[in-house]
Each structure stands twice: as structure tokens, then as C-alpha cells.
Symmetry: C2
Subunit: 218 residues, 2 copies
DNA sequence: CCTGCAAGTAAACGATTGTTGACATAGGTA
DNA sequence: TACCTATGTCAACAATCGTTTACTTGCAGG
């Protein structure tokens, strides 16, 4: 009873962004929550779930450790919050009906390689990190599968036509390529891939993604 | 002094294989060592370094926990041994001069997708798992880079010609695709990719790999 | 002003983890 | 047989981690 998790008040109805570089001046539970999720997501994505300690997250966020349990119940709760937030930020982009395969490819490249926001690739990395928690892992899997379907849909996939089912596999290969790429660039930091510029990566990636997703051949 | 790590006697000069399903009957240090590496590699690859406990590894190998420290010095030492063994098993296959790009592609597919030995994909997964140890991570990075060069070499890369340098990036993209694929299939187990048969994967993968590695165009 | 509650802090607890040292045992050798 | 060393076992250690509890601080409304 007493140890009920405080639910976020969801007073985010205002400007949905401007999470960047928020200063924790006064005492504001929402700001604290966001700072925690932000710090946690970075740690979880780059170092994995188990290697990340709640004390590190709290230190990154400039916040007391106990607040993690106060606001998210547990470390797993925080991880799940990170996952949900990644889903929320990824979903509108995949939901937005893509006019063409080229548009889908352009969006993918923007997220993975061009990286206007340095945290964008990390969001994808989160989809590879397992907490061991059954609940969070289910979210992760479902997100990837939904991601697949919408990628395939943009490439002309139809649920009715069984002949287009291999397209689902092709879409997942595209995702595998993207995730592997971010992994090698961000976590492993293997050269020369890690320090390659967006320009160097764009052309071959476009080529490959088109082969995978475009039914019009090459 | 007393706590010196016992070096493997390297009396593996005999048949290099036959590690499969070895029975620990008498007390044999080499058999124990191999059983530990075998069990550890599976755990490390599927669950990551931090999530694996030495007690789990020992239990899997049917061995007392303390023997890990006796034979490998530490958990990190065991991890490094796993890494080295993966390198040793991967190296001759990449060293063997490939006659053509098709041959390289065929080898890749055999390891990743067709999987005659169920542990083969796991070897690759190890290259994505970080222990946080500087030493083991260096091995990991260097292995991936050597892997890249030999893949690129088979595709016609020459160190002299700066114009062929983008081929290194393409080779690493191929590796990224393979690693991402194994990750999604083995660790995340996302559908339908995880339960897809080798036949379903071979054709599109061949197609993509050829685009990445074959300079003769499509 | 002061009172009440949310926000934040500090310290400690229990569980788990990697590791170690003392002890037991098998098996070859003199 | 009687060692002696390599091999394996057992129990406990210190450190770390997630979590909880009791306490303090700041802010808003009477």
C-alpha cells in the first residue's frame, strides 16, 4: 500500500520536445523523471542492462538513487519506461504512411547514419538490449515486429497475399543490418566503420536497402 | 606466486575437433578446461557477459566453480579464453584464400544461416559481447577488423589502391548484417526471422551480399 | 506565519557475485 | 605400499548491487 509507485502525471501535453539539456533547478518530479529516463537510456543502450548500475544512472542524471525506485518502482521499471519511450518516439515515424520505398529508406538512413540527434541511433540499440525481464522483453519483441510490418507495408506488403510474405523477412534483414551497423559503430567502435562519415555510408546503404525492399528490382 | 594461473598444456596437437559432447569421466584438467570454455561461450554469447554468472557456467559444465579461477584466473580470463578460441576457429576459415566472392558468400551463409553446428552462429555473437575488460575488448575489435580485411580482400580489395577503400566499409556492412541477423534470430528471437528456414534466408542474403561485395555489379 | 505534503537525501539491509584459502582425493611413481 | 602432486571440493570472504526505511527540505495554501 505505502510502497505504491507514483504514476507520471502525464502533464506533457505542452510542447512534446525540448527534453534536450534540461536544467534541474527547482524540485520538479517530471523533470527528474525525464532526466532519469534520458540518462538510463544512454547507459542501457551503450553498455547493456546488466552492466548498467542504478547508481551510475542517478549520478548521470544528477539525482539521488532512491528516486529511481520511487518513480519507476525498480530498475526494470525504469528500463521498461525507456523502452516505452523509445516506442513512442519511433511509432509516429513508422506510422506515418510512407509514399514510397525511397522515403522509407531515407527515414532509416536519417535515424541510423546521419544522426541529427546523437541519441537517435541509441534508441535502436535499446531494441537489442535484454533486461531478462519477461515483460520488457515482450515489449521489445513486439516493437521489432511492428517495426517490421510497417517497413514491409511501405514496400508493398499485403497481409492477404501469401506470396508477399518473404517481404517480411527482407524487411527484418534490413532492420538487422541497421541494428548491426549501429552496434558496430557505437558499442564496438570497430574501424573504419565507426569513424566513417555519413556520406561514405549513405550510398552503399541506399543500394542495399533498395535491393532488400524495392520490388522494382535494382 | 602461489596464485599463478595454470597454463593450458596445449596438448591439443591431436584431433582438433571432437569437442562435442565430451564426457567428464576421470579427473582431466584439459577436459575440464574445454567443458568450461564450451559452456561459457554459450552463456556469454546468448546472455551477455555481465548477465552470466560463473556459478551458472560451472553448473553447465558439471564442474566446481572454483576451477574457473584455478584454470583461467578470473571470469574475465575465461571470457578472453572464449574469445581466443573463437578467433582460432574463425581464423583458418578466413585465412584460406577464397577463390571468388561467391565462395566467401557461401562460407558466410554456412556459418550464419545454415548452421551445421548449432554453436557456429554463437561464435559470431561473441564478437558483439563486451566484458568491459580493456584487454578482451581489444581482441574483439581486432578480430572484427581482421575479419573485415580478409572479407574485403576476397572481394578484390587492395591496400595500395585508395579507390578500393570504400570496399572495407562495404565488407563491414556485410558483417553488420550477419551479426544483426544472428542477434535477432538467436537472442531477441523476433518472428518470423527466428523460425525462418535456411532456404528462405539464403536467396535474399546472397543477393544482398553480392551487391555489397561483388564489384562486378549486380 | 505555519502547516502539510510532495520531493529529495542519507544510510543501511539483504541478496548475489567473483574470488580465495584450506582441505579432500585420485592416481601415477619410487 | 607409501608418498606426492595434480585435481577437485567446500565454505567463507569482501565487494557490489538493488532496494528500503527513516529522515530532511522546500513549496504551496490556509
Amino acid at each position: 500500500m505505502g510502497n505504491e509507485v507514483q504514476e507520471p502525471k502525464d502533464l506533457d501535453g505542452g510542447a512534446a520536445l525540448a527534453d534536450d539539456e534540461l536544467i534541474r533547478s527547482g524540485r520538479d518530479a517530471d523533470v527528474t523523471r525525464r532526466a532519469l529516463v534520458r540518462a538510463a537510456r544512454r547507459r542501457f543502450a551503450t553498455e547493456g542492462y546488466r552492466a548498467t548500475t542504478v547508481r551510475h544512472i542517478a549520478a548521470d542524471a544528477g539525482v539521488n538513487v532512491a528516486l529511481i525506485n520511487r518513480y519507476f518502482g525498480s530498475k526494470e521499471g525504469l528500463f521498461e519506461a525507456c523502452m516505452n519511450r523509445t516506442v513512442d518516439e519511433l511509432d509516429p515515424q513508422t506510422r506515418a504512411r510512407a509514399a514510397s520505398v525511397d522515403e522509407v529508406i531515407a527515414r532509416l538512413l536519417a535515424h541510423v547514419v546521419e544522426a541529427p540527434n546523437a541519441d537517435d541511433p541509441l534508441q535502436l540499440l535499446l531494441l537489442l538490449r535484454s533486461s531478462g525481464d519477461e515483460n520488457a522483453d515482450a515489449i521489445r519483441r513486439r516493437t521489432l515486429e511492428r517495426f517490421t510490418e510497417q517497413l514491409a507495408a511501405a514496400a508493398g506488403w499485403s497481409a492477404d497475399d501469401p506470396a508477399s510474405q518473404p517481404l517480411l523477412l527482407r524487411a527484418q534483414m534490413a532492420i538487422a543490418l541497421m541494428l548491426g551497423l549501429v552496434m558496430l559503430r557505437t558499442a564496438t567502435e570497430v574501424q573504419p566503420l565507426a569513424s566513417a562519415s555519413a556520406d561514405q555510408l549513405t550510398e552503399p546503404l541506399e543500394q542495399v536497402l533498395r535491393v532488400l525492399l524495392d520490388s522494382r528490382g535494382k
